[in-house]
């Protein structure tokens, strides 16, 4: 993989909530263009907090998040131009059709001059059924909604994509289709940071895999390294290990 300027960068990032819980403890990570970084970890490990910090939904206690070199705390609006987001179990606007949902979020993302066909093309790309394009989203299955969620990320055409548990609750076919799209985006040069519980798919899609525990990145492996190691065993060993000392 060619090394270049990282699109996503967490620099000594920590987050302690008002109730005193340390959700993230001095995290350092980088995601290069054309790279998929999978963050693994149990609930409360700090995966979603990392994504929330990148999106400036919460301020960091220490450290900095950079998107395309822009400090997200200092200039969040500029930084958000370069990132697309797919969340877990997004409901979208049930009274809107798939195209109306896509149109709204495309415009928010700065794509104001798209034609009807542009929306259809994106929805075809994620294998959403043609008949669903102009149907109200409230009748969509979770898989269909998730595909529409990816369409929203694709249509923004941002260099970075953040995904929070995107395959949670999807059936195996839908999850496989989802990962195929991720692979396509990666090949287009997108920097993808994905939080997931799914060890097998993380190994399958991830160029790098990080394991988080109690807010710390306790392990990081490249795809090459994982060819010779058993990710499942590593993950379970880390989960079973003694709690970390609280800093």
């Amino acid at each position: 993989m060619a090394t270049s300027q990282p699109i996503l960068k967490a620099d000594d990032l920590s987050k302690r909530y008002e109730d005193g819980i340390l959700a993230l403890d001095h995290l350092n990570l980088q995601v290069q263009p054309g790279e998929v970084y999978c963050l693994l970890g149990a609930n409360g490990a700090g995966k979603t907090t990392t994504i929330n910090l990148f999106l400036n939904f919460i301020p960091p206690t220490t450290g900095t998040c950079f998107i395309n070199g822009i400090d997200v705390t200092k200039d969040p609006l500029e930084a958000k131009k370069y990132v697309a987001f797919v969340s877990e179990n997004v409901m979208l606007y049930g009274n809107f059709t798939a195209r109306q949902n896509l149109d709204f979020f495309a415009k928010l993302g700065g794509k104001t001059a798209l034609a009807k066909n542009d929306y259809y093309q994106v929805m075809r790309r994620v294998s959403l059924q043609e008949k669903a394009f102009d149907q109200r989203v409230k009748n969509f299955s979770k898989g269909m909604r998730q595909k529409l969620g990816i369409s929203i990320a694709i249509i923004k055409d941002a260099p970075a994509v953040l995904l929070d548990e995107p395959t949670a609750g999807l059936d195996p076919k839908a999850a496989t289709e989802f990962l195929e799209i991720m692979a396509e985006l990666k090949n287009e040069g997108k920097a993808i940071l994905m939080s997931t519980h799914d060890i097998f798919r993380a190994k399958e899609i991830g160029d790098r895999v990080g394991i988080m525990k109690e807010g710390r990145l306790v392990m990081e492996r490249t795809r090459q390294e994982l060819q010779y190691e058993d990710l499942v065993k590593i993950y379970i060993d880390y989960m079973k290990s003694e709690p970390l000392a609280i800093s």
């Binding site: 939904f57 409901m91 979208l92 709204f104 928010l108 993302g109």
Partner: protein
């Protein structure tokens, strides 16, 4: 960005089932209430007109009902249809409420009530889920993952959502106004149009305050169910509890004797002075109206001779009773003002007070009517009551009592003063409604500013 979020909000709300429900309710209730209340006004006006035509010049006066009670009944149903004057007393007769027992129990439906209760509830519930609903659906995160300011989102949500609420309000009001016109409502007469437009402006101001309040609740909650529940309780508190408890609370703070106690005290004071007057007039009575020999009564002599003696007592009686009435009215007015101020903690109450004043059925009109009656009594006193006398002769132990009444007026036709109730001018109404209008503006500013700042710190996770 603002346009995008505004258009989304508009479309999302219009496509929701709640929009259909609100529209159907408004389209059914607003025109129907306007037509029914106009019919009720017409009936009251015909009664008034007939009474005016048939009435001879007397001491009884009639109150013209307000045509704008079509929009807000307010005090119209409890104000008297006629008032009969006598020396030192007035007797209010006949109210609409006496004929409408069930309406007294259940309350009547009019435009002001529909706006205050029904649309007010919809406003607070509509807005109550704007932020929490998006958070629950996960769409708020998707929106804010884009380069859009939170301030833009909240402003667009407010304007978009509020515009949707105004659609059924505006359409049903227009339809109602059109039907009223066809029914003969004098829309373009006597400043009615200006007052109705003012009423609509007040309604928009009130609904916008409640919408902002709902938005504030929405930014304080993270679940739709909780937001709806909180909005509903706040609405109950503002539209039922505060307005309905303000008067008893004011009564506890400023105690005013009941009308019965006041009337009894007034009668006692009157009796005392009448008794003193009787003592002073007793020699004259013996002289001119000797009970032993009725055939030799010199009534004219008595009437002439009693004048200088009774004058002092009658003046004292007039002043005493006037002071009684003024003190009592002052105490009641102070309690009413306190009660009004307490109730003004609620936007619903501020709106209702201002709206009813605009419809000529509010407290400003009650006070104006009361002043008109006082002025008319003064005129009647000059031409009639000051000549009337009633002398009471009572023994010390109260065992014997004799009453003589008469009229010392020079002969000739009595020139009764004409009475026609003049509604307050538009400027006077605005002056009376000014505190409530200012409060509604303040409620808007406070609630929206609080919602705005709360949303900028809203946890979207």
């Amino acid at each position: 960005m603002f346009r995008t979020v505004f258009k989304k909000e508009l479309l999302d709300q219009i496509l929701s089932p709640k929009f259909l429900i609100v529209s159907l309710l408004c389209l059914g209730l607003v025109p129907a209430s306007l037509l029914l209340n106009y019919a009720s006004f017409e009936s009251a006006f015909h009664e008034y007109d007939a009474a005016q035509k048939e009435a001879k010049a007397t001491t009884t006066v009639y109150r013209e009902p307000s045509v704008l009670s079509t929009f807000g009944i307010g005090l119209e149903s409890i104000l008297p249809k006629s008032v009969a004057f006598a020396k030192f007393s007035t007797d209010a007769r006949g109210t609409q409420a006496q004929n409408e027992v069930l309406s007294n129990i259940n309350g009547k439906l009019d435009f002001v009530v529909i706006t205050s209760f029904l649309l007010g509830l919809f406003a607070v519930l509509y807005a109550g889920t704007l932020a929490s609903g998006e958070k629950e659906a996960g769409t708020l995160k998707l929106i804010l993952a884009n380069p859009v300011k939170r301030s833009t989102v909240i402003a667009a949500k407010f304007l978009g959502g509020f515009s949707v609420l105004l659609i059924p309000f505006a359409v049903s009001t227009l339809l109602g106004a059109l039907l009223l016109l066809l029914d003969g409502f004098p829309l373009f007469e006597a400043g009615n149009l200006a007052r109705i437009l003012s009423l609509l402006a007040l309604s928009v101001l009130y609904l916008s305050a409640l919408f902002s309040l709902g938005l504030l609740i929405s930014t304080w909650t993270h679940r739709t169910s909780l937001a709806l529940l909180a909005s509903f309780f706040v609405w109950i508190f503002l539209t039922f509890i505060i307005p309905r408890t303000s008067e008893p609370i004011a009564g506890l703070i400023r105690r005013v004797p009941s009308e019965e106690v006041m009337t009894a005290s007034r009668a006692q004071a009157r009796h005392q002075i009448e008794k003193e007057k009787g003592k002073a007039l007793a020699p004259l009575m013996d002289k001119y109206l000797n009970d032993k020999d009725r055939g030799t009564w010199d009534w004219d002599g008595y009437t002439k001779a009693r004048g200088p003696v009774a004058k002092e007592f009658e003046e004292r009686l007039g002043q005493t009773l006037q002071k009684f009435d003024e003190d009592y009215e002052r105490a009641r007015s102070a309690r009413r003002a306190l009660s009004l101020n307490i109730s003004r903690l609620s936007p619903a109450s501020a709106y209702t007070q201002a709206a009813l004043n605009v419809c000529h059925t509010g407290i400003a009109d009650l006070e104006n009517f009361s002043r008109s009656l006082q002025a008319h009594y003064g005129q009647l006193f000059q031409v009639l009551f000051r000549y009337q006398f009633s002398d009471i002769f009572e023994s010390e132990d109260g065992s014997s009592r004799r009453q003589m009444g008469g009229d010392s007026r020079p002969s000739g036709k009595i020139d009764y003063p004409k009475f026609r109730y003049v509604f307050p001018a538009y400027e006077d109404t605005l002056r009376a409604a000014a505190p409530d209008i200012i409060l509604l503006v303040l409620f808007n500013l406070i609630f929206f500013a609080a919602a705005y700042f709360s949303f900028t710190r809203y946890d979207v996770r």
